[in-house]
């Protein structure tokens, strides 16, 4: 168990760096808009969705309607539907851990738990739980610290959010090397770029998801041919 805690912790180090800083930034913005440390704590504990929390600050300060809030959240977070679909098999038979594993499935946690592992199922689930929990703690700590001490920080942290992009790139590279069939990965990139160009950066995710799903469903035989090569 001790070994598992240690290895899970090491896996989360890149996320720790990113979450502490991004959470800190979130805490500062929240504080600057008149919402103090309790709001930071509650939002990071109960919403626990990085980019959406930044968007939520805008909704709060604008006093957005609840319908607008629900729709915006749906648009920004719809990609989580995809995570669920891919995690149904890995998270099967996870028992009591399951509700938390699903609740805490952020982009970054997904990145760390979706990677194929040779370990036994039970061990994998415990590790996934620890990774989810560690990441959640980093995120909450970052936002609380940001709300408390944000005004005291003077060094320039611009660009540190690239850590998340970098993490996604490393997972992309690892997945690419793990298989000979590159059609799914290429499809993900190509359809997203096309939809980004057509729909613009604020609304392209949902059209991308629809295109990708249609492509995989209708082109199943073509996609699976890539496996045979």
């Amino acid at each position: 168990m001790k070994k598992l805690i240690k290895s899970s912790f090491i896996k989360t180090l890149p996320v720790m760096a990113g979450y502490l800083v991004l959470g800190f930034g979130f805490g500062i913005i929240l504080e600057n808009n008149g919402y103090g440390v309790l709001w930071a704590l509650a939002m990071s504990a109960f919403i626990y969705a990085g980019s959406m929390q930044y968007v939520a600050v805008g909704l709060l300060t604008a006093g957005a309607s609840l319908i607008t809030t629900a729709l915006t959240t749906f648009m920004v977070n719809a990609r989580h539907l995809f995570y669920g679909i891919t995690m149904i098999e890995p998270y099967k038979k996870s028992g009591k851990l399951k509700p938390y594993l699903i609740f805490a499935l952020t982009d970054e946690t997904y990145c760390l738990v979706c990677q194929k592992s040779e370990m036994a199922k039970k061990e994998y689930l415990t590790q996934s739980f620890l990774i989810s929990l560690f990441n959640h703690i980093y995120w909450i700590s970052g936002s609380v610290l940001g709300a408390l001490f944000g005004t005291l920080v003077s060094f320039n942290t611009a660009g540190v959010d690239f850590a998340m992009t970098a993490l996604f790139i490393t997972v992309f590279v690892e997945q690419w090397k793990s298989t000979k069939n590159h059609i799914p990965a290429i499809a993900g990139v190509v359809f997203s770029v096309i939809c980004l160009l057509i729909f613009g950066k604020d609304t392209f995710l949902i059209p991308s998801m629809i295109c990708i799903s249609l492509f995989f469903t209708l082109g199943k035989s073509v996609v699976e041919k890539g496996d045979a090569k």
Partner: protein, 108 residues
Amino acid sequence: MNYTHSIAIVAVVALVTALLRFLPFIILNGKRKTPEIIVYMGKVLSFAIMGMLVVYCLKGISFSAPGSFLPELIAGAVVTLLHVAFKNTLISVVAGTLTYMFLIQFIF
């Protein structure tokens, strides 16, 4: 600030986010075996998602000025090359991020 309304907003964001995370498990779960098409989708989607996420992170770049795409391009290349070479996530992420910070703070 209207306290009640603010709390309601936070609650709605939390609920919709959780709903999106739980929905696939609620719909496709139960004791029965996962349908073959979902197993297939789960497998191929996991590759496509990561591509989509990378594009999502880089959505802000534009080719109007060198400073609005070169830092991402160079730092992204650093991450990719290091990761192909060493396969150590920490090294790739730290080096890539420092490169990016240096580029946007001092060069562009």
